[in-house]
């Protein structure tokens, strides 16, 4: 029996090729994703371990979590005297003061930003040769005195810098010229950060604003002292005002922060892999169903010769498992290629990984085989059962009995029931006010409606195909009639083939509805809240030195410039409950550049000295009114009690003024000295031309390439661009599912052509031309693809609509259906059909007429 199975497997290898490709693609995506994220993880792990000191001491800070972006530009520091205190702790071999600050800007003499772009930071550091330093001086000499810097080798190479070259650094204290005196090379893989080293005094003065401060103290353990022992001793010596961590803890914390980011990427990629797997399952299921149907006589003969049902069942399953093993192996190899490709791709985005350090861990290999084998075995299970039910009489019967199987009535009832439940779920999701619960309902609704539509698909084939292909006979004559009827011949098969396409297109449609609604909502929000003519902001959202605001204020044509600051802090209510929040500072005139709906008092009253402007949401929740005292813990740990000066209406929408307290800049800086601006709103002077002022500002700010001057339409474009980029990324990933779906169409058509060989022979004999025959096959493919597109778009629009209703409370208030995308998808589906038909159509048209007529 096994021999017969193997023979049959090999005999059908051509027909299984496309199923194999589906397995390969699914497995490759899963394996590639795992290898890629593992490689990122291991690269950073090595980096963190190599850059962490045995024990490091930093200022303790409750307010700013380790992973919060530093909004204000103020940095927790430790005094230089701490170095001596740490050095004296028994067991410390040596102690170094470290200055390390992210968010500085490095430019060349032409003010072009040459720091890292994308995710990795540009770091300013003090140069000190610690024993386990991750970098070595490989060219030039160490920086000595103001105006000398060392830059990492990757950046030097990327921008072709030469020793002695003039550069500029912009830090919290402003911009200043520097000379490149040397190059430092990482002794592990640098994933893309730009490092700028100063001598210690310069680093302190230029980065932290004053000498005698460090951001951390690193200690190396003496021989025989473990890191943990040393940590305990240092912690005891410095007290609770400081955080003391071992290298392991530091690396772990850093890895954890990265881990969340990585797991988001991983989950997203695996999600798409899952969709690809789902589509792959439907393709394989369909292929095996067709193979079993074609082999009915052969299976009947085996049964007549004495094979038991189990044996027949097993033979089909063994065939599937073989396919799974072969597919997984090839897929795993392709996954390596995919991971290397992804590594190349993100290298262009600024994160540098080494292909030679590709992490292939055993769980990846196990998952690859598990996915491949389970997918094929599960997909082949139903067809295998059907194969086992073939009666020995089938061997004697004529080959093509018309489509049998469970009557469609059961399908109709089951499918409709599913759809009803799904509809209820989606309706509930749209109406539910509880976001978590609504999300759950949406998920259930999406899943059930998908399954329901797949189940009732065969029933929908007739009406939908009449709709999308109804005009074929009129336009294409008998070829159109034949192709339409052929597509309807086996509604189960047509629907199964189309459902693969349906899944991909439903996701495309729903996401594009959400994306386009998001853009429309942001547009509306920008119109609603931003009153300023121009906005000056850092491209990365980080703060910038005060000189930017100073420049703006004196630029010709600027009427009103309102400088804003952002920091982190904690609102402490009278009952002691704490709420972490942003604490915003602003200059006078905020109400002229941002549209704020006031409830009590005016904006100016709210930002007067010692006062705070609060959101109605928080005020109402804690019974605060104008004149009530409010306690705020600022990010540097200082606590201030302020008086509520005014209350605005909380705007829950993204970009709107929420519950965060707004203070006058002077009030904020009295508690948080040195808080930097992160935005300057500009209204042009009366009579000045907006475009002229914009270009004047851009020119004036040329020395600060990190900030940009934008008007409202720039903002809308920016946000649309970001949403489009995300959507394109998602479409790109969904392309995999669509490729697999196309393979399904190819597969179905190829098998149909084989099944209908005699018919094709007959048609050719009575005078159907080759071209007409090709057109017939192509039109059939187009009909199937359009069927899938119509179902997919319908489903996707319903999903998108539900998601929009669900997110309306979160600010997604505008509903926008991207009709251009919808039309593009329909046309795209037709093109997909045409492409899928190329091979089968050619094959059909090349059949020898006589052989075809004589075909059994």
């Amino acid at each position: 029996m096994l021999k017969a199975t193997l023979r049959s497997f090999l005999a059908h290898k051509g027909r299984l090729a496309l199923s194999l490709l589906a397995v390969v693609l699914s497995v490759a995506f899963v394996a590639g994703t795992l290898m890629f994220t593992d490689t990122i993880g291991s690269t950073f792990d090595r980096l963190f371990r190599s850059t962490s000191a045995d024990v490091s001491v930093t200022a303790h800070n409750d307010v700013v979590g380790r992973n919060d972006q530093n909004l204000s530009g103020t940095v927790p520091t430790v005094p230089a005297s701490l170095v001596q205190r740490v050095a004296q702790v028994p067991g410390v071999a040596s102690a170094y003061g470290r200055v390390g600050l992210a968010g500085i800007v490095l430019t060349d003499a032409q003010n072009k930003n040459i720091g890292s772009i994308g995710g990795a930071p540009t770091l300013g550091l003090n140069w000190s040769q610690e024993p386990n330093s991750p970098v070595d001086l490989t060219a030039g000499h160490a920086p000595t005195g103001d105006g000398q810097v060392l830059v990492d080798a990757d950046t030097v190479r990327k921008h072709h810098l030469v020793l002695g070259q003039q550069l500029r650094v912009i830090s919290a204290t402003g911009g200043f010229p520097v000379t490149l005196t040397g190059m430092a090379t990482f002794n592990t893989t640098n994933p893309g950060a730009t490092l700028v080293f100063f001598d210690t005094a310069t680093a302190q003065r230029r980065l932290l604003g004053q000498e005698g401060l460090f951001t951390a103290v690193d200690a190396a353990a003496a021989k025989g002292v473990t890191h943990e022992q040393l940590r305990e001793r240092v912690a005891a010596a410095v007290g609770s005002a400081y955080d003391v961590k071992t290298a392991e803890q530091t690396a772990k914390d850093a890895a954890q922060a990265l881990g969340t980011f990585l797991s988001v990427i991983k989950d997203a990629l695996l999600g798409f892999a899952g969709i690809a797997v789902l589509v792959g399952i439907s393709l394989i299921l369909n292929t095996f169903s067709m193979l079993v149907a074609q082999r009915t006589r052969e299976l009947g003969l085996m049964r007549a010769l004495g094979a038991s049902r189990e044996q027949v069942n097993r033979s089909v399953l063994v065939e599937a498992v073989l396919l799974g093993v072969v597919g997984s192996t090839v897929g795993l190899l392709l996954g390596v290629g995919l991971a290397l490709g992804l590594i190349k791709l993100i290298a262009a985005g600024g994160m540098v990984l080494k292909g030679s350090q590709l992490a292939v861990r055993w769980p990846t290999v196990v998952s690859a085989y598990a996915v491949g084998i389970i997918v094929t075995a599960v997909s082949a299970y139903l067809p295998a059962r059907r194969a086992a039910r073939v009666s020995p009489m089938a061997a004697l019967r004529e080959a093509d009995t018309p489509g049998r199987g469970a009557p469609l009535r059961i399908r109709a009832i089951g499918g409709l029931a599913l759809m009803l439940v799904a509809g209820a779920g989606l309706g509930g999701a749209a109406a539910d006010k509880n976001l978590g619960q609504a999300g759950l309902l949406l998920g259930v609704g999406v899943l059930l409606s998908l399954i329901g539509l797949v189940v009732v698909g065969p029933l929908l084939a007739r009406p939908v195909i009449r709709l999308v292909g109804g005009w074929f006979p009129r336009v294409f004559g008998p070829v159109g009639t034949l192709s339409q009827r052929n597509a309807l011949r086996n509604p189960r098969r047509t629907s199964a083939t189309a459902s693969a396409l349906m899944i991909g297109l439903a996701l495309v449609a729903s996401l594009s509805v959400v994306g386009s609604s998001l853009a429309a909502s942001f547009d509306a929000q920008i119109d609603k809240t931003i009153g300023a003519d121009l906005i000056v902001q850092n491209t990365t959202g980080l703060p910038f030195p005060g000189e930017v605001g100073d420049t703006v204020q004196v630029t010709h044509g600027v009427g009103l410039a309102v400088r804003g600051q952002a920091s982190r802090g904690v609102l402490v209510a009278a009952d002691g409950t704490q709420k972490k929040t942003n604490v915003v500072g602003t200059g006078p005139g905020l109400d002229k550049v941002v549209r704020i709906q006031m409830r009590d008092g005016t904006v100016d009253q709210g930002i007067a000295p010692g006062k705070v402007l609060l959101g109605s949401g928080y005020a109402d929740a804690h019974g605060l009114r104008v004149g009530s005292p409010v306690t705020i813990v600022f990010q540097n740990g200082r606590t201030g009690t302020l008086t509520v000066g005014a209350i605005d209406v909380t705007d829950p929408n993204p970009g709107g003024l929420g519950d965060e307290p707004v203070l006058g800049s002077a009030t904020l800086r009295s508690f948080l000295p040195g808080a930097l601006d992160d935005v300057v709103f500009v209204n042009v002077a009366q009579g000045a031309d907006k475009a002229q002022v914009k270009s004047a500002l851009t020119t004036a700010l040329a020395k600060d390439p990190q900030v940009q001057v934008r008007d409202q339409s720039d903002y809308k474009k920016l946000i649309r661009g970001q949403i489009d980029f995300l959507l394109q990324l998602v479409y790109g990933l969904l392309a995999l599912a669509i490729i697999i779906a196309v393979l399904g169409v190819v597969n179905t058509l190829a098998l149909s052509v084989i099944e209908r060989t005699r018919e094709i022979g007959l048609l050719r004999a009575i005078g159907l031309g080759r071209q007409q025959l090709r057109r017939m096959v192509r039109l059939e493919a187009v009909v199937i693809a359009l069927f899938g597109a119509v179902l997919g778009l319908g489903l996707g629009l319903v999903w998108g609509l539900t998601a929009q209703r669900l997110l309306a409370a979160k600010g997604l208030q505008a509903l926008s259906v991207p009709w251009s995308t919808v039309i593009a998808v329909v046309i795209g589906a037709a093109v997909v059909g045409l492409l899928a038909a190329l091979g089968p159509a050619l094959r059909a048209s090349r059949l020898n007429v006589l052989d075809a007529i004589a075909h059994e």
């Binding site: 018309p402 004559g477 008998p478 070829v479 009639t481 034949l482 009827r485 052929n486 309807l488 011949r489 005699r758 018919e759 007959l762 048609l763 050719r764 004999a765 009575i766 005078g767 159907l768 031309g769 080759r770 007409q772 007429v849 006589l850 007529i853």
Partner: protein, 254 residues
């Protein structure tokens, strides 16, 4: 139109057909010269492997000759490419095969008008009505092939062959899959199409009874025409067959 054409409807000159090449080549037709008269019912008979189907396939433009000429009316087929042959089959030839004559997705009526539809021609309604009446298919037109009996299916095939008024109808063992009653019915219709509608029919068969419906029987053996018999009866045909064929004939087509 077809019945008024002067000269033979089809003819071959020194037609040879070989399968394979070199030492293993098999000569299916060996310099055959034959004329098919217009407006007559010609049967081609012969044992298995005699080349009778090959002759028909070459005459009908389904197979390529190795040497010699094939003429349909005044058109020489061996020089035509696939496109022209397809057009010739569509416009000037009708086919009735042994089995699987109809497209399962089309109704009987759609099957009948298919060649005309493919050509983008409207089938002459009067003629179509006459054909359908003659074949007694009036109440079966909306049926799909699987709703028809074997005999009815073959009648639809004959109707299709007639509908386009081809110059020639080729029938390849048209009764091979039918019981004798249905078979006689179909043969009767072919006969009537010649007598009443003036058609030209060429039929390949191994059944002497079927051959007895023809005006002329050509006997093929080893790729040559070995005999001919005008106004045949079943017994006469059987008698001739015995004379030159010692091998037992199998019921299958070549």
């Amino acid at each position: 139109m077809a019945q008024n054409e002067p000269g033979p409807a089809a003819r071959t000159v020194g037609l040879s057909k070989a399968y394979g090449a070199g030492d293993t080549a098999v000569l299916a037709l060996d310099r055959v010269d034959v004329e098919i008269d217009s407006g007559r019912f010609t049967a081609i008979m012969g044992p298995s492997g005699s080349g009778k189907s090959t002759l028909m396939h070459c005459l009908a433009g389904l197979d390529q000759a190795s040497a010699g000429e094939v003429w349909i009316g005044d058109t020489e087929l061996t020089r035509l490419g696939d496109k022209q042959l397809t057009r010739l089959r569509r416009d000037r030839i009708g086919f009735v095969f042994q089995a699987f004559n109809l497209l399962p997705t089309l109704t009987a009526e759609e099957n009948i008008t298919l060649p005309g539809d493919i050509a983008g021609r409207r089938t002459d309604a009067e003629w179509l009505k006459q054909v359908i009446e003659t074949l007694g298919l009036g109440d079966r037109l909306k049926h799909r092939p699987h709703e028809l009996s074997g005999g009815q299916q073959q009648r639809v095939a004959v109707a299709r062959a007639l509908a386009a008024r081809p110059q020639l109808i080729f029938a390849d063992e048209p009764t091979g899959n039918l019981d004798s009653r249905s078979g006689s019915e179909v043969l009767g219709f072919l006969r009537r199409s010649v007598d009443e509608l003036g058609q030209t029919v060429v039929m390949v068969t191994h059944d002497p009874n079927a051959a007895s419906f023809a005006d002329l029987v050509l006997f093929l053996a080893d790729g040559r025409i070995v005999d001919r018999l005008a106004s045949p009866t079943a017994d006469a045909v059987l008698e001739r067959m015995r004379r030159f064929d010692r091998r037992p004939s199998t019921p299958a087509a070549d």
